[in-house]
Structures are given as C-alpha cells and as structure tokens.
C-alpha cells in the first residue's frame, strides 16, 4: 500500500461503496488518464479519489495509477470512472486494434523498438 491518506488498510469494496462494475467499460489497462486542467481534490472526495487526482497531474496509464496507489485494477477503474463522469479526469483511449492492425502503426512500433 502506498496510500498517503494516513488511514489504515480498507477493504477494496468499501472504498468503492460495494460497486465493482465501472460506469465506463472503456477503461483498459493501457488507457491514459490525466487530470482535467484546473481540477483539484475536493473536501468531499474519498482519500483515494483525491490521491488519484493528484497522481494524475500528468498522464499515466490506468495500470500505473493502480500500481502506484496499491489498489486492485477493478477498484481503480471504478474510482476513475466517477472522476471522469465528474469531468475531473480526461481519458485518452488506446489505439484501437482491428483484427489486422494498421501497417503504419506496426511500422511505428518497429521503428521505436529498433532504437532500443
């Protein structure tokens, strides 16, 4: 756990109020999230949501947010979905992959890997 809220461990489904199905099912592990400009933690927010908001002052993937927070992916998706609904977090979905990925995209990936 890396919670900065100062509270002890809380069962994950307490944090999300018993919900486990995100309002947004388009949050993939690799979806990028970033705090909307001017959004700041609010007093009524849960410590976890406030923590997500301050963590996302620059962009990170959903998986990274979960790892840094030390919370399960499912829980983080629920919290993120609420923040998105409230207009506090912006989402950049991953590149959609069809059955046959775009050759231009694959070329871009190859070029990037060849520079390693």
């Amino acid at each position: 756990m890396t919670s900065s809220a100062g509270s002890g461990p809380v069962r994950p489904y307490v944090i999300t109020g018993g919900r486990s199905v995100p309002a947004l099912d388009n949050l993939a592990l690799e979806t990028l999230v970033i705090a909307a400009s001017g959004s700041a933690p609010e007093p009524r927010m849960s410590p976890e949501s406030a923590e997500i908001l301050s963590l996302c002052r620059r962009q990170l993937s959903v998986a990274e947010v979960a790892a840094h927070l030390g919370q399960p992916i499912t829980v983080v998706k629920v919290l993120l979905a609420d923040l998105v609904d409230a207009g506090l977090i912006k989402v950049r979905p991953p590149v959609p992959i069809a059955d046959l990925p775009d050759k231009g995209l694959l070329k871009e990936v190859l070029d990037g890997l060849r520079q390693l």
């Binding site: 990170l60 993937s61 998986a63 979960a66 399960p72 991953p94 590149v95 992959i97 775009d102 990037g112």
Partner: protein, 196 residues
Amino acid sequence: MDSANSDDHYVADTVSAAVKIVIAGPLGVGKTTLIGSLSEIVPLRTEESMTQAGSGVDEEVSGKATTTVAMDFGRITLNARRVLYLFGTPGQPRFFPMWRHLVHGALGALALVDTRRLEASFDVLGHLEDLGVPFAVAANNFPSSPNYPPEALRSALDLLPETPLMICDARDRYSSAQALITLVDHLYTTASEATR
C-alpha cells in the same frame, strides 16, 4: 506516495495513445525479467481480481469466486506520440479466464518458453491459439538450458510453420528487444500479405 512523484515516471505530454503487447508464459519463465530489461520504468505490479463468468456484485462482495491475479508490466516510449506497454500474463490455466480481457486490443503476444520444461508452456500456447492472438515464441536461454536445434523445438512445441521461434536471453536488453522486433515484424508481414 512512491516514485511516481518524480516527473520522469510520467508518460510524456505529447503521447496521444498507447498500444500493448502481452508477454505470456508459465511461472518462472522470465516474463518480468524480460519486461524489466526493456522498460523505461521499474516494472510495476498490479492486481486484477478475477470472477467466474456470470458472478454478480453480491458474490464479489462476499468474497466468493474471486481470485486475485498479480501482473507485472513495463513501458517503452516508442516516439513522441506513442507508448508501448508490456503486460506479463500469468500462465497458470486457472488464470485463463482473465486473458480474453487482457489480450483485447493487444497487437500480439510474445510467448516465453523454458526449454528445460517445455511442457509447462503447452497450455499457454494452446490458449493463445484458442483466443486467436497472433504470437511469436521466444525460448529464454537459461545457463542449464539444453541446446535443442530449432526444428526439434518447433516440433516439440507443435508450432505452425509461420510462427516465429527464437532463442533469447531475457536479462539482456538487446536480446529482449530482438524478440519483440521479431514478433512485430511477423505482425507486419501478416498485415502486408493480407492487404496485398
């Protein structure tokens, strides 16, 4: 809060979208080692809870039918607008139900095998085939690995002729990069042939 406070742990502002590749293989085959040799961030671990099909919220709250699966992952910035995430996929068959969700939207998968215990990879390869995920196979070379000729490995693993097979050292950045390049090159060739 941990290392994310440092600015270089963030994805560059210019990046507009991510892609992912799944690194699949049995426990102890070197998935996290390979991810670590390539990743620009220290590999991170996250947990996904897995429920059996059809289970509802109530079951989950009471803790029934829920398993927690740990996944390690890393990140490579490909260029100013794209990042690539590498997700290590737990290879035990009991975790297969979560694979469909994990491989959704992936470019493809790199299947790591340990030639000292090839049979440990059979389920993984079979499941990738079932899901229709394009993949390449990399045999991670351990000091005590037997020196099989590629054709013998291919036949033992029952690979299709077009499935790339290579030997790699997951500890070595260059070797790991070559394994991923072989996979993406294969995807590129397949895409080219299909649109010819």
